[in-house]
Structure formats: C-alpha cells, structure tokens
C-alpha cells in the first residue's frame, strides 16, 4: 500500500512524545520526522526506550502516551492498534510472539485481507496469497514449510525475523518500524533484509530501524541516525554518528547538542 508523498508534510511526524509505563516515565519528549522513502536509524543504550518508542507508536495498550504522532496527516494516537496498522504503520517486533495452533499462512492472509477490506480492496484468495507468500518466503530464505506451521511456534530466532520480513513484504506499509530486525539473522538474512528495504524505499516506504549493528546500518545507507538518550532524541547525524557510537560506546560518547527535528 506504500504511496508516494503527496504534500509538504512529513509522512511520519512525532512531537513531544511522552510515554509512561506502570507509572514510570520512559520517554520524556521525543521529536522526529520521517519522509516517504527515507530511512532513519535509531540508536541508544539498552533501556533507553527504543522499543518503547516503537511499541508506543504502534499503540501498546498498557502504555500511557501523550504528545502527537501523525502518519500522513492522520493522528495516530487517536487510533486503536489495528487502525494504525490499516493506516500503514508496521512494527517488526523484537521478539515476535508465538500464536499456537494458528497457521502462519492463515494468519497473514487474514490480517492482509482485514487491511485490504479497510481500504475497500477485494480479498485476496488463498491460492493467490499462497503464491505470493511462497515467492516472498523464498526470497527471504524462509522455508515453505514455515507457512503451514503455527505462527512462530518452534521457529528459531532468525526464522522469526525472516517471518517478520515476509509480513513486511506482503503488507507493503507506508512506514515500517523495525526493532532489532537483524538480531538472529545470518549474513544471508541481513543481505535479504537490505535488498528488501532498498526496494521498498524506492517504492516510498519509510523506515525507522532500531539497530546496534554498524555493518548493516552502513549497508542501509540511512538518511539520518538518531540517538535516543534520557527519554529524548539527544543527537541527530549521519552515518558518522553511528560509527562514532560504535567505536566509542554510548557511555564514552556523550551526546552533543540535540539537532533540529528532521535534520
């Protein structure tokens, strides 16, 4: 469903996002923009709130969220979880859960058809879907058999991530939040991931990629690298920022003055 940008507004715009979990403030004030086809890398120390940011934008039901987040001008925070997904927001989970007894192909097709129905598009039938799913799985190195197995049940870490990528490829979101998508992936998996993202960026999908893996970050050629620290974006830069953090570590590389939003 990825669509080209049609106005001067950023595709995803986040302002003063504040997140509390069980009474504890995890994010104080997060601001950033991502435009169609752009890729932003989000870095930060363990516990800095990277996953919280992604889950909050996706609508995690136990988070208390304030501030604003707009996707294509639509107020995300006003929408229930599924409406955010149908609006074109995709989250690749850091630890995708098992869904025992629900076959992967049934799950993905049901979800895909729910999204299509919300856009007034006809359902995709099982035969056509299976063809697309098999082609996608092959490209991503996910064995066909995984489509007929329960969602993520008995999957290795890498297989779970490949399965997330398969859903990313099939759903074609407008904005994809990828939370440590590289963890568990082997070199072939990372290569397939980079190829997929490159192709989808060219088609207009925007990406926010949470990662600690410099080699992959370099392969992705990000538009910006953001550093999350103390509950806000403390620094914005280019690949050099990622290289600096990787070389010196978060503790030894204090954040410089925060850059303007979207810079």
């Amino acid at each position: 469903m990825n669509q080209a940008k049609t106005s001067g507004e950023p595709l995803l715009s986040v302002r003063k996002l504040q997140v509390d979990i069980a009474g504890k403030r995890v994010l104080r004030s997060v601001d950033f923009d991502v435009d169609a086809g752009e890729l932003v890398v989000l870095m930060g120390a363990n516990g800095s709130g990277k996953s919280t940011l992604a889950l909050a934008l996706a609508g995690h039901p136990r988070y208390e969220v304030s501030g604003t987040a707009h996707l294509g001008g639509q107020d995300l925070l006003e929408l229930p979880v599924e409406a955010r997904a149908r609006a074109g927001l995709f989250l690749s989970f850091q630890a995708p859960p098992d869904i025992p007894g629900v076959k992967n192909n049934l799950f993905i097709r049901t979800a895909l058809n729910a999204q299509r129905a919300s856009r007034g598009e006809p359902e995709i039938d099982a035969y056509d879907f299976l063809g697309q799913a098999k082609a996608g799985a092959k490209r991503l190195g996910l064995p066909d058999a995984m489509l007929a197995r329960p969602v993520n049940e008995g999957f290795s870490g890498g297989e779970r991530k490949r399965n997330e990528l398969l859903q990313l490829a099939l759903f074609k979101p407008r904005v994809a939040l990828l939370d440590e998508i590289d963890s568990g992936l082997d070199v072939d998996g990372v290569r397939a991931l980079v190829d997929l993202i490159t192709e989808m960026r060219a088609q207009g999908t925007a990406f926010v990629v949470v990662s600690h893996y410099l080699h992959m970050i370099e392969m992705l050629e990000p538009d910006r690298v953001l550093r999350l620290q103390d509950g806000c974006i403390s620094e914005s830069g280019d690949l050099e920022l990622a290289r600096s953090i990787t070389a010196q570590g978060f503790a030894a590389a204090p954040a410089r003055q925060a850059a303007p939003v979207g810079a």
Partner: protein, 408 residues
Amino acid sequence: MDAARSEALAARAQLLEQGGWQFRRLEAFRFVAPPPAETWLGDETVLDAPAVPNGGWTWEPSDAAAKPDIRWLDAADTSQRSALLERLPQPGEDAVAPFAWAHRALCKGGLRIRVPKAADPDAAPVMLRLRQSSSEAVEAPLLVVELEPGAHCVLVEEHGQAAGAGPEEAVRNLQVHLLLAEGARLQHWRQVQPQAGQRVAHHLNVHLDAGAFYAQAMLATGSAYHLQRAHVVFDGEGAEARLGSVLLSDARQLDRQVRMIHAAPRSTSTARALALARGKALVAADLYAHVRPGAEDADIHQHLAGIPTAGSPRLVMRPQLEIEHDAVQAAHGTTWGRLPDEAIFFARQRGLDEATALSLILHGMAAAEVVRALADERLCETVGALQALDEALNRYLSPAQAQERRDG
C-alpha cells in the same frame, strides 16, 4: 424376578434408601456437586420401558482390513448380560461408585466392540465412528471397547442431539470401558455438547497393558450439569496415555476430572485442559496423578489453562500429584485468567480488530490442544475435530448470534 431387574432394584435401594449418594464431602466434587440420585435413576417405570434400539448408538462400518466385532447386548438377557459385563469391575466403593451403582440400576444394554490386530503391520488403523443420541428422558448407556494385542484403532465418539430431537432436560449417565491389550494403540476423539438443560455424567475407565498407547482429545461444553471423568490405570510397563481437553462453558457448569493411576514402571501420562468460560459459568478441572510403589520412572505431565473470556465466570483449576516412588519425573503447571496479551497485540498490529484477533487466537489455542493430544494433525481433520472445534468456538464466542440462529 430376573437377575438384571433384581440387581437394578438393589442398586436403587442402596442409593435411595441407604444413603449411598454422597458427594458433598468429596474433594473432587466440592465445586460442582452432582444432582441428587433420583435424577440419575428416574422413576421405577423406567425399568419396565423397552430398551431403545441399540441403546441410541449408531455406528459406521469400518473399511479397514481388520474388521471389528460390534455387538449390541441386551442387559435383560442373562447370557448377553454376562457377555456385556465380562471383565468389567463391579461398582466399588470409590468416590464415583454411586454413579456406577446408578448406572447398574438403569442400564438396559450396551455396545461391546472388539478390535483385532491387522495382519498387515502397515495397514491403516480401524476407524470407528460412534454416535449416541436417543429420545429417552433418563438413560445409562454403556460402551466397552477392547483392543487385542497390537491392534490400532481410531475411535470417534459423539454425544449430543439437535435441538428438538429429545428431551431438553434429558439425563445421561454413561460408562465407557476401554481395555487396551499389550502394544495396542487407540486414538480417541470425543465431543460432548449437551443441550443447556441436560445433565450428563460420563465415566471413562481405561486399562492399559504393557506398551499400550491411548490418546484422547475431547471437546466438552457446559450444561445444567456436566461431568467428564476419566480414570486411566497403567497396568503394564511402558504404557502411555495422553489426554487433552477443550472445555467451553457459557453460564453453565462443566466438571473435568482425570485420574492417572501409575501402577507399572516406565509409564507416561500427560493430562491437559484448556477451559474457556464466560458469563456466570462454573468450570472445574481436576487433574490427578498417582504413582504407586514400584512404578519406577513414571513420567507425568499436567497442564491446566483457565481463561475467562467475558463476564465473571468461576474457574477452578487443580493439578494434583501423589507420588509413592522415588524415581519419578513430574511436571505440572496452571495458568489462570491470562489471555495471551502479547499475541493479541501482535495480531492487532497486523490489522485485525480485537474481536477477530481474540477469536483467531482462541481457535488456535483450542486446535493446538487437540492436535497435541492426538499427535496427528491430519487425523484431527479426518475425524472432524478441527471443524467441530471451530463451530463450537464460534457459538461460544457469539452466544447472542447463536441464539438468534436457533430462534430462526
């Protein structure tokens, strides 16, 4: 007076006049108390009514190479009664003896099946499809299935009736005896979906000789009173039993009791139950395993999951172990009240609305329980288990819509 009638009257007298119907003080029946003895006996005129043809049992012939011997035996006929009750224990004095006595007082016959071993070791298992439904107000059906050494059978057993096909407050006190000889294998799919007003008690007594394997998956739904009790005795070394059940109750009662008695070495038991309840339902699931002295290397697994899906139902989940031997492995666990929040959030993040996500996930959990028990997904489809689960869950999750369908 013939022997059958004499025995029936003696059983009635014991239950009605000698205080033989006592459950209130029994721990297993503390939460879901059975209705009084009169409920299960009916009045004396029941004894004089002619038996329903084949006791309401219908079956489909098996096309397997090994032909089972299937006989309906009349309990009023002396010789048939003797054949019917052969190898079956007399009602004893255990916790559920009153049900057994009530059954003897009313049982007019039973279905006795003997499954031989196929000559070809690669032959498909014998497939038996049984259905029990009749129009009697009070009944005590009996089913006995014997598997000869090395026999392999798939048994599909269905109880229930369409709305309007029988008394809405019918009473069924069923006794099932499954006797598995050495090396026999039985995969058993049961579905028991009584009408809301019916009172149902099913007692399965399973005996496993050495190396025998018994797998049971069951779907049971709530009613005015519904007891499903399985008593599995491991008589032979290396026997294995695996019982999984999906319990659905909507403002009704449902009581699941499993007793695994490890009386032989190296026996393995797995008992699981997934209970979904809504409204004001009361569901109890009580899994008990007893390892007797000498049953070394017994391996026991118990797992219970109780999930209230709406309203304020009461769910009682009780895993219990009694171990009288040192070398035993046992694992048991219970989860109560936990919907899989992360999975629901994940599904919603993919675009499914909350109700659809919940339905999909609960269907999956139920299917996984059944597939795990029978350990054969294709078999689950062949016997109609997955379809039955889907239909039952759809009714359970949309009671208002189901009621509208029933009302036409």
